[in-house]
Symmetry: C2
């Protein structure tokens, strides 16, 4: 901010009504017709078609202009680094999705390639994402629970789960829900322009939500850490039941698995600390997770932890890729809700991360194109038996910090994954699942940090803190899909709350200025004699219309119902005396409606006995904070005007914005009696207008 | 409005920042602590206790002061008239509730007496109400459907419904849901202060809702008009299924019943017309409905329509009252949702009617006490096997127009009903049910008129029309209980819609004034050179924060991402040339941040090449329409300030209301660099402040 000396402020003009201003400024009426706009937007031409094609295939616009000299090295290093990260993360998140680890590798390959062609963000790293994976896990375990795949084992003489059949079924479910969520992203969010739902994903909501989802992630992985087999729970409160079940099963902990877990977690944390300590000195971060799974696999293979200690390992990893299979349409009906939640969350996360980096590097992310890119990634992925993807914060940061500059980095990481899938993957068959769970925990560290939002929001904005906490609780209790819907509902309700309980203030004048401020907040603000200036801190609409009237009554000190009934009684009395003094009464009545200065009749004094007679003649409603007026709002204003006018108090409006004036017009607020001359340009215009009539009495207080 | 000549407007003062204003006006910080307020409100004393007692039993405060001379005659006539109306309405609405007609009489007696003691409205006529009755009917028919009470009839050799057992069960259900709704009104709405939900029942919503409920009423009575027996449908779309079923059964119409219906409907309509034609000449309206049921009963009894033509008649009416029975608690679980809907609707209708008459006659209706009164009426009624009541518009109008002045009128009407129940009721056993259905149709005439709201709202407020229509459709399709919830949800969403798509305007100055208006709406408004004044028509919050930024970009003509990337490229270029001309570049960078007038360096011109260099130096964000700021809003403002400042455009705020300034403070908007001096009292203050620096160039355009 530059600091200059205050200058003089000098204005000479007439006191202006809305009507005067509209005349002076020549209000225009013509609006471009909707029809013309539509025709304009439908027009088709050669350059337009080319532009449209380039928009749909962004790769065609940037790849030909790719500067090898500038970008190639950074993209190469970044692509390799991210690919190396995708390997352990993909396998670990496959556990979350309750499918065999190799499908995590597929999910890190096909969608990433599709995004390379259609995506517009240069920095985000698409692939498996913890929150989406745990949501997928909820669906797969609900539709293909262990209990459906029990077979009798003749060897141990007990029933056990036929994991091969179960996993095949789960893969089908995951592919179906992923395919459907992709279709939703393209059709519902993209073409039907429903993408605006992500604007409801405000920052406190997203952070509360991801933290809540992280709790689900942790709980779902505890069974691998302790080597136990709890029964799957679903529906609301499933998390609580699962935790209770886990506590119950804790004595059955497999000590070998627990040891592996603890060693892996401690090792990973130490290595990550080292990484961040060395962060600035190394060109590329140490691939901690890759080292962890290599070391763990080697040890596991040498020691034979599976045979000797019963530690659960990854098991068969098929080499090579799988042929595409169209998802089972019969499953769509059962997963439609989950698919929609996945599509919204996936898009919300990707677009917010994309925007952050676009702003940082000064390019534009096309939100509609991103929907198409993500949707195609997911639906294409679904055909190749991937599970739903989005972009992960941790990988994106690595991609950016290692020098990745274009989508080439993402494509390279996919090629690294392809290479691993084809030739190396099978080597990891001995990797203990507990190590993958450890990788997941350590990766959640960023989400756990989000708990620090609570004290921060407590200081800055309590309602946003409420949104955070309620979203978190709803997500934890109701599961991620239902929790998201409930949280969005709640965050919309907060808008109602925020505007439903406004602060009502009587304004006073800052001496010798045209500035009006709330009397209760400022000491050197003076009431304008005979005039009440009333403002609500929020817009006036159906949910607070009644409160507006009540507050006006409190601030004006006029009990409008009492005053009206006093007037009614008076009128009744008058009627009884009518025969006696017909003439006098008529005069009194006339005076009552005129609001003149000299009315001295007993009748008037009786009506005005409710309040200090010299005090209130005019109410100015400052409508500057009003955003729109619904019928209830207009009716409220009209009632206020009618009621107060009946007891001799004039009510005028001030500082309406242009669209509110239009609402007043179409809403039928103005008529023969109420014209635009009761609408003042500013509070000060209105005050000056009414001060003139009482100028004799208190000239000195006004000027 | 008084019309006076415009006066001169004259202001001399310094250009003021928010900080200056706060200093001048001495902003006070002290707020009354929440704790003190609580203690204050908890304090107990003698007068307070008495006041509390009088509040709980309003009868104790007004009955001792009852003026027999003034009120007795009016109350007497009014009480008798309303009592006479309660008889046919009570019996008819009992059909809606699917219970025997005599229970409609009980419902017109017990609750009315309770309201006499606890109620604060002097004019509303409590008793049976069509909308509530049809909601009760939905519950009773769902929980005690005909199919549960089939018995084998040995005479006709076919199965038929055992109506006695069925009706006994339905009465139990009705009593249980009524009792529970009363408890909800006292506890949930009253004590837990949940009564604010009725503020969501905006006028368009209530009118759309009652019209939709009227459709349900009509459809539910068609079976009596045609003398057919459709199967009961429940759940969403039940109305559609019922109508289809009715059409299917139409050939089985009982001609006798249809003739009775048509005669009754035509007769009632004609008599009502006559009534409204003679309206002003008669002191008391002709009790059309009473005459109709008397005539119909006499004819039915003489002709024996039941025996000869198979017309369904009312049947056994037990004389005398029933002993109280506590409702079956086991039913509560099944009716909890319906009970809540009943409690909200019943209260909403009663309080809105009560307020209308309170305002008309200048007394106060205590909304909390009304909840207690209604709740006790319903729960007491539930024990005496009544069904849920509220107040009916038609009876209330009669009560008021026949001179009813206090709750005594209501009490008298209850005594009339008691008299009928004890001695006369049994005489109506031969009354055809088709006549009662006819009475219901004719009474719905007012609700049907509400369809005229649609064209009216189309002209005045399209969003409110949407609320009306959507509420109507939801109520018709989803049944009254679920429909109400969905409609309230929708009407809240409209608030989001209304603020989510604001109109963004660039403001210009009305020449020679301090008035700023949107450039696109006014022809004589002039752009201020070098300054963009930007306003959103709605408050800035999470759902429109992104649009705010986009719109600002459009209006300013600055593609901020492009400008920033241009700046980034420039900086990269500079680094490369650093060795050559280290000194020169440093100067350029310094100049870039200073926003001075004389910066002529090539570097700056490159950055500013994106736009006309002389055009934009300052953006003034007019925040007068902002109601509150959430964390997303504050972040948006901060980002805008940071980004534009980086390309040499200063961003300041103007016209914040006091509470928004507080939100900015607690939200951490201000820091060492951004102080309150970037917050101007008004747009004009800001414009004057920045015009000073360019005064040399364009002095004539500003003053």
């Amino acid at each position: 901010m530059t600091q200059r000396r205050p200058m003089a402020y000098s204005i000479h003009r007439d006191v202006l009504h809305e009507a005067d201003v509209e005349e002076m400024a020549q209000k225009s009426e013509s609006k471009p017709s909707v029809c013309e706009n539509v025709i304009q937007s439908m027009r088709c031409s050669g350059p337009r078609l080319k532009k449209c094609l380039l928009r749909t295939f962004p790769v065609a616009s940037w790849l030909p202009r790719y500067s090898i000299r500038e970008n190639a090295l950074g993209d190469f290093i970044s692509g390799i680094s991210v690919g190396i990260m995708q390997l352990p993360q993909g396998m670990a998140y496959a556990l979350l999705a309750a499918v065999p680890p190799v499908f995590g590798l597929y999910s890190s390959f096909y969608p990433v390639l599709v995004y390379f062609i259609f995506g517009t963000s240069k920095h985000i790293s698409l692939g498996t994402y913890a929150v989406l994976s745990v949501m997928i896990g909820g669906v797969t375990e609900r539709l293909a629970p262990d209990s459906d795949f029990m077979v009798w084992d003749n060897v141990t003489n007990s029933s056990m789960v036929d994991t091969t059949v179960r996993d095949a079924e789960r893969i089908k479910v995951a592919a179906a829900v992923t395919f459907l969520s992709g279709i939703f992203q393209v059709i519902v969010l993209g073409l039907v322009q429903f993408g605006f739902v992500v604007t409801y994903l405000s920052e406190p909501l997203v952070r509360g939500y991801t933290t809540g989802a992280a709790i689900h992630v942790i709980v779902s992985q505890l069974k691998y850490t302790f080597g136990i087999n709890p029964v799957r729970h679903s529906g609301p409160l499933a998390l609580i039941y699962t935790v209770i079940e886990l506590c119950y099963l804790l004595p059955q902990t497999n000590i070998g698995t627990l040891v592996v877990s603890i060693v892996a977690i401690v090792g990973l944390i130490l290595a990550k600390e080292l990484n961040s300590y060395l962060g600035k000195k190394l060109p590329v971060p140490i691939p901690v997770e890759l080292i962890a799974i290599i070391v763990a696999t080697v040890i596991s293979w040498q020691v034979d932890v599976e045979g000797k200690y019963g530690v659960d390992v990854v098991g068969l990893i098929p080499s090579g890729l799988q042929p595409p299979v169209f998802p089972e349409v019969s499953l769509f009906g059962q997963v439609i809700g989950d698919a929609f939640a996945l599509s919204v969350v996936g898009y919300g996360i990707a677009i917010s991360l994309g925007r952050i980096f676009a702003l940082k590097y000064g390019y534009k992310v096309d939100s509609n194109q991103e929907l198409v890119a993500l949707g195609l990634s997911n639906s294409f992925g679904g055909i190749f038996q991937c599970f739903a993807i989005s972009c992960s914060m941790s990988r994106t940061l690595v991609q950016e910090s290692t020098g990745g500059k274009t989508q080439i980095a993402g494509a390279l990481s996919a090629i690294v994954i392809l290479f691993i899938t084809l030739w190396i993957g099978a080597l990891f068959e001995d990797l203990p699942k507990a190590v993958l769970a450890a990788i997941i925990y350590v990766n959640l560290h960023g989400m756990m940090k989000q708990f620090l939002d609570i004290p921060l929001l407590w200081r800055t904005n309590k309602i946003d803190m409420m949104v955070w906490v309620v979203t978190f609780i709803l997500t934890v209790l109701l599961n991620p899909d239902l929790g998201l819907a409930a949280a969005i509902g709640f965050s919309m309700l907060t808008v109602i709350f925020r505007t439903q309980l406004p602060k009502y203030s009587a304004l006073g004048r800052v001496p010798n200025t045209d500035i009006y401020r709330p009397l209760e907040n400022f000491n050197q603000v003076r009431n304008v004699p005979g005039i009440l200036i009333f403002r609500s801190s929020a817009t006036l609409y159906f949910a607070n219309a009644e409160m507006f009237q009540d507050a006006l009554g409190r601030k004006s000190g006029i009990d409008i119902t009492k005053a009206l009934s006093a007037k009614k009684k008076l009128e009744a009395k008058k009627k009884r005396h009518e025969k006696k003094m017909a003439k006098d009464v008529k005069k009194a009545e006339k005076a009552l409606k005129m609001n003149g200065v000299e009315q001295k009749e007993v009748a008037i004094i009786e009506v005005e006995a409710e309040r200090d007679p010299s005090l209130l003649r005019t109410i100015i409603l400052d409508l500057s904070t009003v955003n729109f007026l619904d019928t209830v709002g207009i009716k409220t204003l009209r009632n206020i005007q009618k009621d107060y006018e009946e007891i001799g108090v004039e009510v005028v409006l001030a500082s309406c914005q242009t669209s509110v004036v239009e609402h007043l017009e179409t809403g039928g607020f103005f008529n023969d009696k109420v014209t635009k001359s009761c609408l003042f340009n500013s509070i000060h215009d209105a005050v000056l207008h009414f001060s003139a009539s009482t100028l004799e009495e208190n000239r000195e207080t006004h000027f």
